[in-house]
């Protein structure tokens, strides 16, 4: 990690390995695993895909700072008093905007590193058919406020869009708690208290009839890198259009006391012509993580539906 002006940016380790103190060796757990334990954040303003007007892979530190400032301003703009957008939350007031919490900074212009243009690969013909069919099915559900089921997954407190795997920046509360025990790595996601329990014992994947929102993960240590392969998704929370046949391979490596390098590859030949990979960072943050009871106090969904029914009555 280097200090650059007022802001500390972490360059992705694969690119700037020399600067990352190559001699760093992660501490070990009592049973000898590289120790990834603690509280981490992947909050970032770096977009998954490279913006259309950007052609290079890395910003200069100054450019990165400027891009972050623009993004933070855009995020706060939605809370202008009196606007519809303001109704949801005042992001700045409750510390929900990224700018007020720990951030995993990065000089990259996109998280995607492959394809080299920083963009998702082209969607296949089959992928287009799948997307069209999904859009059609969504229409049949009616308007967003017609029923709980036609609302979006996160408003229903079922799962956050970026819960993954791969673990994507959640816009707010992008915090994770990693705990290790012999044979297991557990990654608790703050949002909707999703705990991933990843066995390291080389067990096989279950039958393809077993499908879950977050798939089924199997892990192994490749030297100091935790490699997690996940399949058996249920396809109901697609990542950028992915199908239930997606395979996600994640690689977590602690490259400094306060940084985990996080790389992932998404392979879903039904949707994309080629696999694609991204690199993000997880930055150490402070704990503890408090209970994220989302569904239990989901007055928002209830009130939205009540409101929609009242609106209909008025007409």
């Amino acid at each position: 990690m280097r200090l650059l002006g007022a802001v500390a940016f972490v360059t992705a380790a694969s690119v700037a390995a020399a600067a990352q103190s190559p001699s760093y060796r992660a501490p070990r757990t009592p049973d000898g695993q590289p120790d990834l334990q603690g509280f981490w954040s992947n909050a970032t303003y770096t977009p998954l895909e490279r913006p259309d007007n950007v052609t290079k892979a890395f910003y200069t530190p100054e450019e990165a700072q400027a891009a972050e400032k623009r993004a933070a301003a855009a995020e706060n703009a939605q809370t202008e008093p009196g606007t519809v957008a303001d109704v949801h939350y005042d992001f700045t007031q409750f510390g929900l905007d990224r700018s007020q919490a720990a951030r995993a900074r990065n000089l990259r212009t996109s998280l995607i590193v492959d394809p080299p243009n920083g963009k998702l690969p082209p969607v296949t013909a089959e992928g287009k058919r799948i997307l069209a069919a999904r859009a059609q099915a969504a229409k049949l559900l009616g308007g967003r406020w017609d029923s709980a089921q036609s609302n979006q997954l996160d408003d229903r407190c079922l799962i956050m869009a970026g819960a993954g795997p791969p673990m994507m920046d959640a816009a707010y509360n992008s915090n994770y708690h990693i705990v290790q025990a012999p044979g297991y790595v557990m990654i608790l996601t703050e949002m909707i208290h999703d705990a991933r329990i990843i066995p390291l014992d080389g067990r096989p994947q279950p039958s393809e009839n077993v499908r879950q929102w977050m798939g089924v993960s199997r892990g192994r240590w490749d030297a100091d890198t935790l490699v997690i392969e996940t399949t058996n998704f249920n396809g109901k929370n697609p990542l950028r259009g992915s199908t239930e046949h997606m395979k996600v391979t994640e690689r977590l490596r602690r490259v400094a006391d306060d940084v985990i390098e996080y790389k992932f590859t998404v392979d879903d030949p039904r949707m994309w012509a080629s696999a694609w990979s991204a690199e993000a960072v997880m930055k150490k943050t402070i704990g503890p993580i408090f209970e994220h009871a989302c569904h239990e106090g989901n007055y928002g969904l209830y009130n939205t539906l009540v409101g929609a029914r009242l609106e209909e009555k008025k007409k």
Binding site: T29, D31, W145, S147, Q180, A181, D194, A195, W213, G287
Partner: protein
């Protein structure tokens, strides 16, 4: 040969003494002398996937079988009888609290937070008919429950008071010989103890003991204190069983979507 035998004898004698000492030190409920395998840092190793096999999730108190409250479920939804897990058999409710428990029981389908897929609270999460996994590290011991994906973090070193009330409470833990002792406070007053309407207030304080009793069983005890609801503290105890099938794992039970029609169905847009 003689020396070897002598050594063996001494070792045996030492072992026996150790066993006797251990037996006198441990709790009465614990099978004498069982010493759990250790984690590399020397603690009793409680890692594993565990599940209760009893009817505590239906009713903590002794109870007879009774019909399903949902007609369509017939025998599949009926309540099996049980001898109860409460020490002394009866929960010492204050009179007004007992009346509320009985109201809860009568209105279970409408009132039980489990039906709505709400976080189950403590100790209910432990004996629901779902497994949970203990992930044991030095600083934090995680209890990951299959039901609703409920999570408890037990703070072993970085302990603070509960920052706010919550469903699963705030748990601080310590080792007491063979036992993991978990002290949990900071509850809201919204969770129940079972499907029979047994409940608590936000003054709930639960002290649990997890103690290995054999390679594949734990003793689980919970002492429940809540002066707003009970006249005195009371205790439940039961064994927990290891899920030993190959590749056992906690499955997703993201039950929100299974409760939505029940909770919000009446707010659906009606076809014209």
């Amino acid at each position: 040969m003689r020396n070897l035998n002598a050594t063996r004898f001494t070792a045996m004698a030492a072992l026996c003494t150790g066993v006797v000492l251990a037996a006198t030190l441990v709790l009465a409920q614990q099978p004498a002398g069982y010493r759990a395998p250790r984690t590399p840092d020397g603690r009793p190793n409680l890692n594993g996937i565990w599940q209760a096999i009893n009817t505590a999730h239906w009713d903590l108190e002794p109870h007879s079988p009774s019909p399903s409250p949902v007609l369509e479920l017939g025998a599949a939804g009926a309540v099996p009888g049980g001898l109860g897990v409460v020490e002394g058999g009866v929960i010492p409710y204050r009179p007004e609290a007992l009346a509320k428990r009985n109201e809860n029981r009568a209105g279970r389908l409408k009132l039980d937070p489990e039906v709505k897929c709400y976080l189950p609270g403590v100790p209910r999460a432990t004996y629901m008919p779902f497994p949970f996994q203990i992930i044991q590290s030095q600083k934090h011991i995680m209890l990951i429950h299959e039901f609703a994906g409920a999570v408890r973090t037990i703070y072993m070193t970085d302990q603070v008071e509960a920052p706010a009330d919550s469903w699963m409470g705030w748990s601080n833990g310590r080792w007491d010989g063979e036992s993991l002792v978990v002290d949990t406070k900071g509850f809201n007053d919204l969770s129940w103890f079972d499907r029979a309407g047994n409940f608590h207030s936000d003054a709930l304080h639960v002290v649990e003991r997890f103690t290995a009793r054999s390679a594949d069983t734990l003793n689980y005890e919970a002492t429940i204190e809540d002066p707003k609801t009970f006249t005195k503290p009371w205790k439940i105890s039961m064994p927990l069983y290891r899920r030993v099938e190959p590749n056992a794992q906690i499955m997703e039970f993201r039950c929100v979507e299974f409760a939505e029609e029940l909770l919000y169905g009446h707010l659906k847009k009606q076809p014209k």
